[in-house]
């Protein structure tokens, strides 16, 4: 990796102090056992199959056509969608519109390392996954030869960031009034041994990605995005190692989790429409008031002119 010379880099063979902290020296089993306490609750007090409550709102960024903000406890994601524009550097006519996605981590978003300014492999693969998830949801035939830009910025990353990004992007697209077939929702699950952590935190994800020493133990992360009304899976990403039964079981859980998010998202969207209508009304009223004031002025001047 090229060094960033604007920062103080320390000697070449230096090792981060975290390498010697107590947390780091913990063995896999210790890390694993810490995730769940005796009463079968996770560190933040949730049950295994309990997702974090989601906060979502639209109209986050005034400059963008549509925008959304999604928060899952410590995972915070902003998404903005811009007007369709002609696809740059393309000679051929494309019948279907394209979606351009970019996922970026804030430099301070992760607890383990500082994110480089330039997009790395993870950013790129998340962008690809996001595009894959959104493409089936958007009516792309309505934008031939145009592209819609979707930018996602991850402010804080505490697990399930792809799922949060997809949820935010779906909301932002709806806020931008881009025609879509269905509401898109996503959820993620971490699998460690025989335990399934719905909506994992970063710590749980980290342990799920470490391969245990004992052979043949299931581990990994699955993220799935769904168009629930149409019963279609728009993206499915699995990393790790697990047998088919485990994948299928996780899939059923994720399907339910995705459906659970729908009322929440619907409410946000309805609120968004109500707010927009109210704002429209307010603007109209203000315009009327101004017109009335102007008319009154006009009358005043007219009488003045006539008198003079």
């Amino acid at each position: 990796m090229p060094l960033d010379f604007r920062r103080f880099n320390g000697p070449e063979d230096s090792v981060s102090y975290t390498r010697f902290t107590q947390d780091f020296l913990k063995s896999y089993d210790e890390l694993h056992n810490e995730l769940i306490n005796k009463s079968n609750l996770r560190k933040d007090g949730r049950a295994l199959d309990e997702a974090r409550s989601m906060f979502a709102r639209t109209d986050m960024i005034s400059q963008a056509k549509g925008s959304a903000y999604v928060e899952l406890k410590k995972t915070k994601v902003v998404c903005s969608v811009f007007d369709p524009r002609e696809i740059p550097h393309q000679n051929e006519f494309s019948q279907l519109g394209q979606i351009f996605c970019e996922v970026k981590f804030a430099p301070f978003s992760c607890s383990r390392q500082r994110r480089p300014a330039a997009p790395d492999a993870e950013d790129k693969s998340l962008s690809v996954a996001l595009r894959q998830a959104l493409e089936p949801a958007v009516c792309r035939h309505l934008f031939p030869n145009y592209q819609i830009d979707v930018f996602v910025y991850i402010i804080e990353h505490d697990g399930a960031c792809l799922a949060a990004a997809i949820n935010a992007a779906g909301l932002a697209l709806a806020d931008a009034a881009v025609p879509m077939y269905d509401i898109i929702t996503a959820s993620s699950i971490a699998i460690i041994g025989d335990k399934m952590f719905v909506d994992p935190t970063e710590e749980e994800e980290h342990v799920a990605m470490i391969s245990p020493d004992s052979e043949n133990v299931n581990h990994g992360i699955i993220t799935m995005s769904m168009l629930s009304e149409l019963k279609q899976v728009s993206d499915f990403i699995q990393i790790g190692s697990m047998d088919t039964d485990c994948v299928i079981k996780a899939m059923d859980i994720l399907e339910k989790e995705c459906a659970k998010l729908i009322p929440n998202i619907q409410q946000v969207l309805v609120m968004n429409v109500v707010q927009n209508i109210e704002q429209q009304k307010k603007l109209e009223e203000e315009a009327k008031e101004r017109e009335a004031a102007l008319n009154a002025k006009l009358e005043e001047w007219k009488t003045l002119l006539n008198a003079g």
Partner: protein, 309 residues
């Protein structure tokens, strides 16, 4: 992706064929096309393989380098995948044209090799915390005839099977630095344990059925394909008596989707099962071919074709 131009009637013809389990080239939905595989084709690489699957032509070279292990994984080596889409395959790949495809394939490979149940990076460790091997797997796509992912994963596994790492003869400790002396005898080397290395199987959804090993024409008829990475079974890659080796169950090491469409959950589940069965057969066939070739090399009877064929 680069695809041939098909008229709508041709597409319907292919779709009907798939519906009746009889594809335009005479295969059924679960058949692969014949493949040609040769290992040790590049003399400058530590291991190499060339795979031809009908019109798809893949060349893989493995280069090795000594590197310092990551501080959070002191006992593990490194492996990296680079895909290069040659403009020879289609003019569309010229310049940065093939970058997106190349990225998606290398991403897929990296994810499939992530878990230690697929590829154990501990075997690349030389000196814990100080030195390890880093494998650069360079994948060259010379021709595109559909089904790139499967072909790439097969060629990579064959190239890794062919890779030899020289033994360390002596290690000199100088302060904190380690100075290694490697054996320069090409036969004084160790082979990698790649029995579990994953194979990718692409399942292309055409109509409402999934087919394996789609040709380029079939790929252009489908809007969505599912890629399943399945870990291999080491028993297919051993010449010795296989009874004392544990029969390792095939597991999914990665699943991903390609293309602008979506699938129903039920189709997805069926496709995963279908992919695992296909991967098992592929793995067995690949193991047999590789062992036969190794045997031929040992008895000096190997006939090298290289690029002449």
């Amino acid at each position: 992706m680069a695809g041939p131009l098909l008229s709508s009637t041709e597409k319907i013809f292919i779709l009907h064929g798939v519906q009746n389990d009889y594809r335009s080239d005479g295969r059924s939905n679960i058949d692969y096309r014949p493949m040609e595989l040769e290992t040790d084709v590049v003399s400058h690489a530590s291991g190499s393989a060339r795979l031809r699957l009908a019109n798809t032509d893949i060349l893989v070279g493995v280069k090795t380098e000594i590197d310092v292990p990551k501080p959070d994984n002191p006992g593990k080596g490194k492996i990296e995948f680079f895909v290069d889409c040659s403009a020879n395959a289609t003019p569309e790949f010229e310049g940065r044209g093939g970058e997106q495809l190349a990225n998606s394939i290398s991403n897929m490979m990296q994810r499939a090799y992530h878990t230690s149940q697929a590829f154990n990076l501990k075997q690349l460790c030389i000196f814990e915390g100080k030195q390890c091997w880093k494998l650069y797997v360079d994948i060259l796509i010379l021709e595109c005839g559909g089904n790139l992912c499967d072909a790439v994963s097969l060629a990579v596994k064959a190239a890794l099977f062919n890779t030899r790492l020289p033994f360390v003869k002596a290690a000199l400790m100088d302060g904190g630095n380690v100075d290694l002396q490697l054996s320069d005898d090409p036969y004084d080397s160790k082979q990698l344990d790649i029995g579990c290395a994953p194979l990718l199987v692409t399942l292309c959804k055409i109509g409402d059925k999934c087919v394996v090993d789609p040709s380029a024409e079939e790929e252009s008829c489908s809007v969505i394909s599912l890629v399943v990475g399945v870990t291999g079974n080491p028993k297919f890659y051993c010449t010795e008596d296989t009874t004392n080796i544990l029969n390792v169950e095939c597991k999914c090491s990665t699943i991903g989707m390609n293309g602008p469409g979506s699938v129903a959950p039920k189709t997805l589940k069926d496709a995963i099962n279908q992919g695992i069965i296909a991967a098992k057969c592929l793995d067995e066939a690949l193991g047999k071919a590789l062992l036969r070739e190794r045997q031929e090399t040992i008895v000096m009877k190997k006939h090298s074709y290289g690029f002449l064929k």
